[in-house]
């Protein structure tokens, strides 16, 4: 769950104010709005990456998946298990889930390749898996369909629908068909 109360973000020449809202658990909320209206800024504020006014109440850890993700210079598998490593969790206990998600996203054959050698779409999928493998309470997805082909978007839809049983998902996406397929709620930014 994420609750916004009087939230605003101040840039040097711009102030973005957000309407109060409650983003529910086990639901996918699609954030809509024009370019530059502050959709990504909202995700960054919820993710704790930028300072904001007002209150953002969260039910747990929020992770952001960025539009142009950074993969680390290591194998796909090691990228995916990085959040487990830093939490001191044994990746072996997550093998089943890693394989399940990797198969779902068509990455099973790529697990031991260096992530830097992947295509843009494969990088995107690796990054998404890295963001969800530790099952954060809140998942913020910024343009997750960028670089993905039609089949991969279908795979992502299945993954998002599966993940929403366990978390609060807030996403910004310009793919209307994808939004319609996964959205439970819509939150509009920019009046």
């Amino acid at each position: 769950m994420v609750r916004l109360k009087n939230v605003a973000v101040e840039y040097p020449a711009l102030r973005i104010a957000y309407e109060d809202a409650l983003f529910l658990q086990n639901a996918v909320t699609v954030v809509t709005g024009r370019n530059g209206s502050g959709k990504t800024t909202l995700l960054k504020a919820i993710g704790g990456l930028i300072a904001h006014e007002g209150e953002i109440e969260k039910s747990g850890f929020a992770t952001i998946h960025f539009q142009d993700p950074v993969l680390f210079d290591r194998s796909v598998y090691k990228n995916i298990v990085y959040p487990l490593e830093i939490r001191g969790r044994d990746a072996r206990g997550y093998e089943k889930r890693i394989l399940e998600y990797a198969r779902l996203m068509g990455l099973k054959e790529k697990l031991h390749e260096n992530a830097k050698n992947l295509s843009a779409g494969q990088k995107m999928k690796t990054s998404i898996l890295r963001s969800v493998i530790f099952e954060p309470e809140i998942l913020l997805l910024d343009e997750p369909t960028t670089y993905l082909d039609i089949e991969s978007i279908e795979e992502l839809k299945t993954l998002v629908c599966k993940l929403k049983e366990k978390m609060t998902i807030i996403l910004v996406c310009h793919d209307q068909a994808f939004n319609e397929a996964v959205a439970d709620e819509v939150y509009h930014v920019g009046g």
């Binding site: 990456l49 952001i64 950074v70 680390f72 210079d73 830093i86 963001s131």
Partner: protein, 227 residues
């Protein structure tokens, strides 16, 4: 004159003249040790400037980039003034230590500055990603150093190239004393001033050859960098 220089270079190398080998060795030891010693603070400072959000960051970067272009002779002068001034009790004038110190100060901003120039965006994004995945400070430091490795390597190469090729600083603080503080570049400068161009060209060729051998050796370890 070039062919004469090549012939003399070959003769100098095969003559096994201890003085020549001592000059080459001293050049390498001073430049390599100054580069490696400046590596740790330079890399850390470069990373801190890249990822830090603080007041006056722009000014720090302007000063850092300016100091990347400090003429070696000016750096030599600063070290010399320190050596004959506040550091006089250490008796540093015309010593190898002073040469090391001058090169250390010369390459320090080159290492830090090139880290900032080449990888600031990468570092910020790596840090942002690590934060969103829940990394703590101790994880972020290790991750940043690992992800910045190619840039660190590049900055050290740049610094070493600058150190081995400079003459002004080591000439001023070392004094080009035979058998003590004479290095390849001061040897070239001295012979040129005496009109012995062939010998100068020969040592210049040896200097380039030594640099080439070092890069050749490094290229075996860092195929990603050299391709």
């Amino acid at each position: 004159m070039i062919s004469e220089g090549l012939r003399t270079a070959f003769e100098l190398l095969v003559s096994f003249d201890w003085e020549i080998y001592q000059i080459i060795l001293l050049s390498l030891v001073i430049s390599l040790s100054a580069t490696l010693a400046a590596g740790v603070p330079g890399v850390l400072f470069g990373i801190l400037v890249s990822i830090g959000r603080f007041k006056g960051k722009r000014l720090v970067k302007v000063l850092l980039f300016t100091s990347m272009g400090v003429p070696p002779v000016v750096m030599g002068l600063i070290v010399l003034l320190l050596a004959i001034g506040p550091l006089r009790p250490l008796d540093l004038v015309f010593t190898r230590t002073a040469m090391f110190f001058a090169q250390f100060l010369l390459v320090l901003p080159i290492i830090a500055g090139s880290i900032v120039i080449s990888s600031e965006k990468t570092q910020v994004r790596v840090l942002e990603t690590a934060t969103t995945l829940g990394a703590r400070r101790k994880h972020k430091v290790g991750l940043l150093v690992r992800e910045t490795k190619p840039f660190i390597f590049m900055s050290l190469i740049l610094a070493f190239s600058r150190a081995i090729a400079e003459v002004g600083a080591v000439m001023l603080v070392g004094g080009n004393i035979k058998g003590e503080t004479r290095v390849m570049t001061t040897f070239i400068a001295m012979n040129t001033s005496m009109g012995q161009f062939g010998t100068s060209i020969a040592m210049g060729i040896i200097l380039l050859f030594v640099a080439f051998l070092i890069h050749l050796a490094l290229s075996r370890f860092r195929r990603d960098f050299y391709g």
